[in-house]
Structure formats: C-alpha cells, structure tokens
C-alpha cells in the first residue's frame, strides 16, 4: 500500500514537471525569436524629458497676471535624505565619492551650508526632505507590491529639490558655495509668480504639486510627454484650474544611452529626433488689470470706512452684449504670491479672505429679483400694465406683523411697485404665478445653474422648490429658499437690459465656441414697463436708490437699477455675561461656545442673556443695475459705448438703497473715468 501510494505521489508530481518541460520547449525553441525581439525592445535607449513653461495668464491688454519665471532649485541626492546603508552605498557609487568620506558630519555640514546660502532653515529643509522620502517610499512600495518583488525605482538614484525658487544671484552663490559637496546640485527650474496682488488673487487661483488622485485620474496618462509627473504642478481654483489644459504644455524629449549621453540614431541606424518642449498657451482674460485694481481698492475703501461691521463684499461688472466680465471683485482677498500672509490667516476670521465671494458665496437676493419676476408675470399675463394691488403695509388684514411691506404704498401698479420696492404687489404676483413657474422663469434668467465661466469655484445657488403659497410669496421678494451668487445677479440684470440670456465668460481667447444668446419670450412692452420701473428707482424721487444713485459725471448716460436687502444670519451676537469677580459686561462673539472658549475655566463667565446685533448688521445690501444712454433707456442694450451691468453686495451693512448704491455709483464713476483706456494697456 505504501509503495503504491508513493508511486502515486510521484505520478502526481510528474504531471506539472512534464507541463514545465513542454512549456520550456515552447518558450525557448518555438518562441525564442519573438522573445529576442522583445528583449531588444527592452534595451532600447531611454528617453530623457525636459520641462515646458506653463502658459501665462494675462489681462485683456496683455499684462501678465500669472507666469512662469526662471528659477533654480537646490537638489540633494536621495542617499542623503535617507539614512540607509544600502542607499548610501549606491549613492557613493553614482557620485563617485568613497563611502567612508560620506560621514554624518560632512552631510550635516552640507545642510548648514545650504541653509547659510539660501536663508532656508535646516529644520524646514529636513521637513521637506521627510515628505519627499515618504512619497518615494510610498511609490516604491506601490511598484514593489504591483510587481510582486522589491523594485529599485528611478527616484532612489536621483536628486530631489529641498530649496526652490532661487534667483539668478542666489543660484550663482549657491553653485560656488556648494561645489565641495558633490551630493548637492543646483538645478534650473521655474516658479509660478503672480502679479496684480489681492485684486485678482481669487480669480487667478493658484497651482499646487499634483496629488496622487490627480496622477491616477490623468487623462493624458498614455502620452508620456503630456502626462502629469509627481513633481508637476496643476491649477487648483480660479483661472489656473479653468484653463489647466490650455496652460499646460508638453515636455520635450531626447534619447540617452545608459551612460546618459544623448543619441540621435538607434542601434539599427534609424533616426531618433529630439522632441522640442511645447510651452503652454497663454490665457487672456476679458478684464483689465488696472481697472480691476482700482475698483478693488475702491470697494475695499468703501467697505472698511463706511461699514466697519461688514465682513466683506463683492461686485461684478459685465459687458452686456457679450457678457464678458469687466471686473470680478471679492473683498477681502489674498495675494497668491504672499505665502506667509496666507498662512497667517485665522481660519475663524468671519471676513473669510479665502472665499471667492463674487462667484462662490450664495446670498438671498432680496428685492433685486423683483424686476425679473415682473417681466415674467407680464409675459405670462399674470399681471398687466394697469394691475393694481393695494398696499396697507401688510398683506393680511388683522396681521400687521406678518407679510409686511417696506412702507404703506396704497394702490401700486407695476412701475410704482418696482420704484418703491413694494412687497405687497409681489406677494400677490408670486402667489398667482406659483413656485414652479417662478423657478422656471428664474432659470431663464440664469439662476439655479452656473453662470458659464467654467470656474470650478462657482456655486449654482438655489431655486425655490416648496410648493406653498408662502414660498411663492417669499420667492417673489427673493427671500427664503431663493439664493444666488453675485455673478448670477449681474447676469440677471444684464439679461433684463438686453432681453436675452447668455452665459458669462472671463476667458477672452477661449477656443471653445461661445454659446448663442437665448432671446427670452418676453414682449417688448413688458420690458419697457420693467425698465421704466428701474429708471424711476434710481432717477425719480421716491425710488429706493434715488438719493445716492447719482453718477458724478453722467455724460448723457443714465443708471437703471434695483436695490435689495437680504436677511442674513448675524455673524456675531451680543452676550450679557457675569464674570466670577462679579462684573457684568456685554461681549460680542460668534456663538456661546467660542465666547466661553476664550476664557480659562476659572475666569469663565456665565451668560445671562443674548441679543441680536442691530438690524443693519443682519442685512446684506444689494444693488443691481446698468448704464444706458439717457434717451434710449427703454430699449434693449445691444451696442454703444457704455453697456455695463453691475451687481454689488455688501455683507452685514444694511439695506441696499443706503449701502450698496453708493458703492456701485463710486465704482461706475471709476469705470467712466477710465473710459477708453480700458483694455488698451495704458496706465492711468
């Protein structure tokens, strides 16, 4: 039995052995030629790539906002970054320095010398080095796992930058000072620089080192010259992200043999032409840098001097016929060049400087939706020129504190209702239209979807959705669920000015064709009624923007517009507190938690009561409007000199008529003063 079973085992093992022999014959006799070719292919010369320059971002006059500037990096060999005998041995072979000369003291000395020459602290460099090593180890582990065996990767025999962005004089000094340390190299590179400061900080966005996720999702992964590499940067936020494909170039390439010498013909004599690097294309914006900076300064000055409690504001200026952005302002902002300032920003700062308000923040629009809904109601036949609703200051008899109006307006017709911003008229209008119809019309004017710039930062806002009478009334005065961004507000008023909807653009040389304008199904007679209302709002006594809506030098132009006041949740509350020592004080804070966390436990006060700040500090002021020749203000804006739509929002400062209108007129004055010099490149 035992012998039989052992024989059986032998036969069992013979099966794979025979298969193995057959396989070997197949591989080494019948496929030998094929594998010889494959091996030759593996031995082919290796490509060495060199970088391209990322395209610049310029304003409409060609002034650069962001560009790649030449710079130099100090790179240290991987063997210095990790303290592993095997790696160090390999490095000593590559750089040709005997292993016993690579003492820890020597390596330390080189770190201090780099620090001395570049002004970067050793701790910072070594923190960077640890990050680099962690990344390389991760790649190595990944590759080794995939291949099933420990694999030597190229990064382990290369140098890695620990200090970046040296300028010309620094790099010369570094080259001379570091010549005694063969494991340190000064290598040419480039760095992204931004011009224009905080005025365009949000809009240009910035670039960061590519993440693993981006590398994995790379659409050019098959093209080795266009694919992302771990040391590459890519645009996050703003135009850098919007134009990522356009701004990116293609690396160049030469072939090198194993010794690193460039070769131009392969072993069979076929030519191996070097491939030039293709720099990225420049991206031109529609806005003017000088004007943007002037307007940003103006917006900042207006907000900080007039409304110290305000947390910020935004303004958008559009060219009405083309919907190109003339200015896109968000205050406060950041300077993408100033890394240290950016790091110092307090994450709890209620002013939120990193927020790109003009396209990202959503607000209740308040009354600025009224002209849009009036046009919709007139087009649908919900109301007519002669429709009157009587305003007694509140909607429901016997409920004076519910569904209130801004005043007591008596019998209000459409034009009067716009001019005085009568809520009662619009409660009726909204209720008769119903929420679905209102939301549909809002969509026609660009709400509820992005404005078309393609900026990743953009929010879509929100359309009303609850099908109740209350929501229908709220939607008609722009409260409750309805929310939009400043850029959507500007496009809405531009749609009213021209009678047609069109997506907004910031990219002047965008290769994609511009979408066609969509003519809204609103009769001219309706537009005339709406525009008459907008005219009277600014230019006739009783209009909500009458007092401040005057331009300094009108020059035959007239401003049409609508104010709005949006209720916002107050950013800070007042808390009456009693302290352990018996004193009672009123303190401002975001909420009780942050208030209490400011004090150590033994000094922590008890909160006696809380109250909201004054009403003007709970209200965002809105103004939307446009400039038009005085004699043609009822007609569609299709051409001419001044054809600017503007939307302004000032956070937590008060009602639109008092707050946003002066800011808007101040900015329009600046634009009119700039006049012809816009986009001509002339410096004012």
């Amino acid at each position: 039995m035992f012998e039989r079973r052992v024989k059986f085992l032998l036969v069992l093992l013979a099966v794979p052995a025979v298969a193995l022999a057959a396989r070997l014959v197949h591989l080494q006799v019948f496929s030998a030629a094929e594998f010889r070719t494959a091996t030759d292919k593996m031995l082919e010369l290796r490509p060495r790539q060199f970088p391209f320059l990322r395209g610049s971002i310029t304003d409409c006059a060609g002034r650069p906002l962001a560009y790649d500037a030449p710079a130099w990096d100090v790179a240290v060999h991987y063997g210095v970054l990790v303290d592993e005998p095997a790696v160090r041995k390999r490095m000593s072979r590559i750089i040709g320095v005997p292993l016993d000369e690579l003492t820890p003291e020597m390596l330390d000395a080189s770190w201090h010398r780099i620090s001395q020459l570049t002004g970067t602290s050793v701790a910072d460099m070594q923190a960077d080095a640890r990050r680099i090593v962690a990344r390389i180890k991760r790649i190595k582990r990944h590759v080794s796992e995939r291949r099933g065996v420990e694999t030597l990767i190229a990064e382990e025999i290369q140098s890695h930058p620990v200090v970046t962005g040296l300028d010309q004089s620094q790099q010369v000094a570094a080259r001379i000072g570091l010549s005694g340390y063969p494991w340190v190299e000064v290598v040419p590179s480039h760095t992204r620089r931004y011009e224009g400061g905080p005025a365009v900080g949000h809009l240009t966005g910035r670039v960061v080192r590519v993440s693993d996720a981006v590398l994995e999702a790379d659409e050019n992964a098959d093209d080795p010259l266009a694919a992302y590499r771990p040391e590459d940067v890519y645009g996050v936020r703003g135009v850098e992200a919007l134009g990522e494909r356009w701004l990116r170039g293609r690396r160049g390439q030469v072939w090198v043999d194993r010794l690193g010498d460039i070769v131009t013909v392969d072993r069979a004599g076929r030519p191996l032409p070097p491939i030039e690097a293709v720099d990225g294309k420049d991206l031109q914006l529609t806005l003017d840098l000088a004007l943007q900076q002037a307007l940003y300064a103006r917006l900042g000055a207006e907000i900080t001097t007039r409304y110290p409690a305000s947390t910020g504001g935004a303004a958008v200026l559009l060219d009405i016929p083309t919907r190109q952005v003339i200015a896109l302002l968000s205050y406060p902002s950041i300077d993408p060049n100033d890394r240290t300032a950016m790091l110092e920003v307090d994450p709890n700062d209620p002013r939120r400087p990193f927020l790109f308000r003009a396209v990202r923040e959503i607000y209740n629009p308040g009354s600025i939706v009224k002209p849009m809904l009036l046009a919709a109601g007139l087009a649908d036949g919900t109301v007519h020129r002669n429709t009157h609703f009587t305003c007694t200051g509140h909607l429901l008899p016997g409920h004076p504190n519910k569904w209130r109006c801004t005043g007591i307006h008596g019998a209000a017709d459409p034009i009067y209702a716009i001019q005085h911003s009568c809520n009662i008229f619009f409660y009726h209008l909204g209720q008769q239209m119903g929420v679905p119809r209102e939301a549909w019309w809002m969509q026609q004017f660009g709400l509820g979807h992005t404005s078309g710039t393609g900026l990743l930062d953009e929010s879509v806002g929100r359309l009303p959705s609850r099908r109740t009478n209350g929501e229908a009334r709220f939607a008609a005065i722009g409260q409750s669920e309805t929310e939009l961004t400043p850029i959507q507000a500007a496009n809405m008023i531009a749609t009213i000015a021209s009678g047609e909807y069109r997506p907004v653009t910031v990219w002047a040389n965008d290769p994609a064709p511009r979408p066609e304008a969509v003519r809204l199904n609103v009769p001219d007679s309706a537009w005339r009624i709406v525009r008459e209302g907008l005219y009277r709002t600014v230019n006739e006594p009783g209009g909500t923007a009458y007092r401040d809506g005057k331009l300094a030098e009108p020059g035959g132009f007239v401003l049409l517009g609508k104010t709005g006041s949006a209720e916002g949740y107050p950013p800070e509350w007042f808390y009456t507190c009693r302290f352990p020592d018996g004193t009672v004080r009123e303190i401002r804070a975001r909420n009780q938690r942050t208030l209490l966390s400011d004090y150590p436990p033994e000094r922590r006060p008890t909160v006696l009561s809380q109250r909201k700040p004054p009403e003007y500090e709970q209200t965002h002021g809105w103004f939307v409007g446009y400039l038009v020749p005085r004699d043609r203000y009822l007609q569609d804006v299709t051409g001419g000199d001044m054809r600017i739509a503007i939307a302004v929002v000032v956070e937590y400062a008060g009602h639109g008529g008092e707050v946003a209108v002066p800011v808007a007129t101040a900015m329009l004055d600046s634009v009119m003063m700039a006049g012809d010099s816009i986009c001509s490149g002339g410096d004012r």
Binding site: F2, L24, V29, T39, M42, S144, E150, L152
Partner: protein, 423 residues
Amino acid sequence: MNITGIRSRHAWGLLVPVLVLSGISLLTMQALFSPSPRHVLASAAVKQAAFAAIGLMAARFMIAVSYHRLGRVAFLLFVACLASLAFIQLDKAVNLPFVPVRNGSRRWIEIGSIQLQPSELMKIAYVLALAWYLRYRRSYRTLVGLIAPFAITLVPMMLILVQPDLGTVLLFLPVLFAMLFAAGAKVKHLMIVILLGLCAMPVFWMKIKDYQRLRLVGMALQNQQLRTYFAEHPDKWEWFRPPGTRPKDWHNELRRWETRAGYQLVHGKAAIGSGGATGMGWGTGPFIEHEFLLPERENDFVFAMIAHQWGLLGSLLVLASYVVLVIFGYDVATVTRDPFGRLIAVGITTMIAVQALTNLCMTVGIGPITGVTLPFVSKGGSSLVASFASIGLLVSVAQNRPNIIGNAPFRFDEEAERYAPGN
C-alpha cells in the same frame, strides 16, 4: 576512513543532482554579481560557496547523527522554531534591534552580520515533528484523528503568514497531505478536507490583498488576446474588480498590465525565451548585463537567468536534477522499513519537489507569482544550509535502517481493521 560517511547508492543519487544545482547556482551568482565574470571573483559567489560548504557540513552532521536521535527531540526543535517565529512577530509590538524589516516583512533574525531565517529551519522541524507524531499511530485513519496533524501544520503556517510570507506558507499543505496520504490516511477523508478547502476559496479570494488577487488573475492576463478582449469589454473585466477598488484604478491595472502586475512575468519570460535552445553563454546576455531589466533575478527568478545563459539545455538540466532528486528521495522512503524514516523521506522530498515546482512554474508563467525561492539555486544562506541539511537527513534515513521485526508499516488491512479491538 570514510570521510563522506556515505555507504549507500541512494546517497549518490541524492547528492549528485544537489551538487549540480549548487554548481549552476555558483556560476550564476558569479555571472550576476561580478563586473567581469571571467576575471573578477564576486563576493556574492564566494558567500554562496561558503554557505554551500556550511550546508555540506550540516549534511555530513545529519548523516553522522542517527535520525532517530533527532526524532526524539523533534517536538523540542519544532517548539523552538515556533518560539523564534513568534519572537520575530514580537517586533511588531516592541522594536527589537535584531529583527530587520525589509519590504514590509519580518522574516529574519540578525545577529551581527549573520542572518537567520527561522522559517527555513521550520520546514525541517515540521517534517520531523509530523513524522514523529504519525509514525506509530493509526488515529489518522479516522476523520477526527486528522485534527491533530492539521493543528501541527496550521500553527507554524499562521506564524509565517503574518510575517508575511505567503509563498512559504503554501508549501506546508502539500507536504501535510503527501505525508498523510503516504501514511495511509483514507483518501475519502483527505478528499473531504480538500473539498472543504475549496469551499473556503471564495472567502480566501475576498480576504487577500488587491495585488495578490492581480497576481492570480495575472496568469491568465499574460495572454495578449485575453487582455485585448477585456479592454474591449470593460464590463467583463469589472466582474473581477475587488470591492473597495475604484473602477478607474481597476481598468488602469489592465491597461498598464505589462508595466505593473505583469512586469515581472513579461520580463522573466523574455529572459527565458531569449536564451533559446543553447543560451547566450555564461556571463553574457542582456539580462545578465542589465540589472534593471529583472528585479529579484538572483532570488525568485534565478531560473530565468539560468535559462537565459544556458538555454533549453541548461533549463532541462535543472529540471532533470530535481526529477532525479525526487525519484531517489521517494526511493529512500520505499527501501527503509522504519515508519519514522519513511515519513521523513516522503515529507522532505515532497517539500523540495513542491518548492521547486512552484518556483519553476511561476518563472515560466504557468503558476502564480508567490515569492518562493528555488532550492539549492537561489541566493540565500539559510535556505541553502537548510536544504543541504534536509538532504543529509534523507541520506541518513537511507543508511541508518534499524532492523525492524514485524510487518512493513502502513499496510492497512481494511478487513482486519474493521474487527480490530478499539474500533
């Protein structure tokens, strides 16, 4: 005086193939690690030769010592090996200075410049312990009686699995089955166990890591037509996607198979195939000259280097050496009548055969990549010394035949067994 201690014809049948394999190994190490193989002696080759010498001494020691003496301390050895394996894992909790972590695994004990791989010694200790346990029993003729042999197997398997070293772990099960089978366990029972194991396969498939799963699928993927088919039918490829992997990543695995999971396989096959019938010659050929073409070429993929240098002749010589070794190994089992010796011979021969087959099948692409080294050929001292010692043990079994008066062991009479007392 007989210095070699060899008195049996079996010994030469075992030693000649081993010496052939070691010789090939030394030549390959010299070719791989010397900048100029014909003129400069590579330190790796010298080291390998030194280990071979130590291995021969270990074999000589095994021949000299009666294996029955070893049998008496078999469990002690086994427990000592278990302890050292457990000790290595202690490093996960407390950082032990002499347990290095390489490529994420803890397999070695390092004392000065000497490195020990306890799992290699475990292989011998395991065979001894199992043989000692099974030698005079008949309990494994019942299903319940199989529990103890399996327990003896699973404990070291677990300890090696957590190193992690999946390749070595997988050697233990074939050895266990071969020894149980040879000892006379009922085929029906073994089949039941195998069936149970097969039922657990889906669980196994769900539990292993993504890259391990890819290595299994990778065997099929070396077929270019299959890759094209999956590329054209992504939904079919989706079936194999492990949960927790993003579809995009899984698709990339297929698209870049040749540079990722398939890299080693493609390059190993190219090294073998380009060797042709007669090979590139000793110390020549692209795969010898360019280290970067095939990582691990001196360890798991050393057979590819042999086939590259000496072609089909060389690779068949290696295969033939193992065949001779296995035939003589099993022959030792049949000529001795000592049950302990029989089981040792079956266990050790099966261990070497399975290890060699796994490695060779992996290298030529008809088995999954598991990271098993080629016995007597791959670089590595512990493995070489342990392999030589096990050959010594085989020779010892062949020569030290105790006189046994009685029936030949493992001749089970089904009929008599049914009426035997105690059943």
